[in-house]
């Protein structure tokens, strides 16, 4: 389990794929033997990022493509979530807790805050009209480390 392992997943920007994306990343990350809490954090983060790509990136159209990549290197999960959607104009504003550009959809504006809290690291690269790329990482305090 110490050699790097990777996966890349692409899927249609449909809301029924939110659960699918969570399950897939969790199944991959489970190779690091995370705690249930850590696994829930990862699922939540994937859900936030994929939901944002669908709602904000592709304005709820189902014909976009979302790409997730995950890599396991030593005890760390590296994760990216990418869309080729509308992009973010003002990144600083977007990251503010409770800020949302779509209050009419009952968005809470907490997505970025949750991602930042649940991951060790978050980097956002976005260009208006081109898309958004989130790069994240989280160290898993592997239970296996005790025995190896």
């Amino acid at each position: 389990m110490n050699e790097a392992n990777f996966m890349k997943l692409q899927f249609a920007s449909k809301s029924e794929n939110e659960a699918f994306a969570r399950v897939t990343v969790a199944a991959f990350a489970s190779q690091l033997d995370p705690t249930l809490d850590e696994l829930t954090d990862i699922k939540t983060v994937v859900s936030e990022a994929v939901t944002n790509a669908i709602i904000h990136g592709y304005d709820n159209r189902g014909d976009g493509v979302i790409t997730i990549s995950a890599e396991i290197a030593n005890d760390t999960l590296y994760l990216t979530v990418e869309d080729q959607g509308r992009g973010i104009e003002d990144l600083e504003q977007a990251k503010q807790p409770l800020y949302t550009s779509k209050p009419e959809l009952e968005r809470s504006g907490m997505g970025f805050t949750i991602i930042e809290n649940f991951m060790d690291q978050l980097e956002v690269i976005s260009s208006p009209g081109k898309g958004t790329l989130l790069t994240m990482s989280k160290r898993i305090e592997s239970k296996k480390a005790l025995y190896n």
Partner: protein
């Protein structure tokens, strides 16, 4: 990976039990079902039970906040109960505890609203 919504009227309270996973894909269902029940029913208060809610993300926060505004707009209260630690953290992060009352379980939620039979 799906969501079930169970509703029960108990005196002046509408008890809503969410089971499964609440995300953007099904948040509109929760909104529609609860909105209707709040408008049509004669319940003054809402008790939201999360005992069997295995997963929730910020789309859940949004729909809960929306119903909170709806019921308080009518002069009612909202109490949330049986929150698991993961969902507790989401509430905490978003400052929800400043506005929402939480209780350990439905019974305590009912008695906090003074509607125990």
């Amino acid at each position: 990976m799906s969501l079930q919504i169970e509703m029960e009227h108990h005196r002046k309270a509408l008890i809503v039990r969410l089971k499964g996973e609440l995300d953007h894909h099904n948040a509109h269902l929760v909104k529609a079902r609860m909105e209707e029940a709040i408008e049509k029913g004669d319940s003054s208060h809402i008790i939201l039970s999360m005992k069997d809610l295995d997963f929730m993300d910020s789309s859940g926060l949004g729909v809960i906040l929306g119903r909170y505004k709806q019921i308080t707009g009518k002069g009612g209260k909202m109490v949330v109960c049986d929150i698991n630690p993961a969902i507790y953290r989401l509430f905490e992060m978003s400052g929800f505890f400043k506005i929402l009352t939480i209780q350990d379980n439905e019974r305590l939620a009912l008695s906090s609203l003074g509607v125990v039979s």
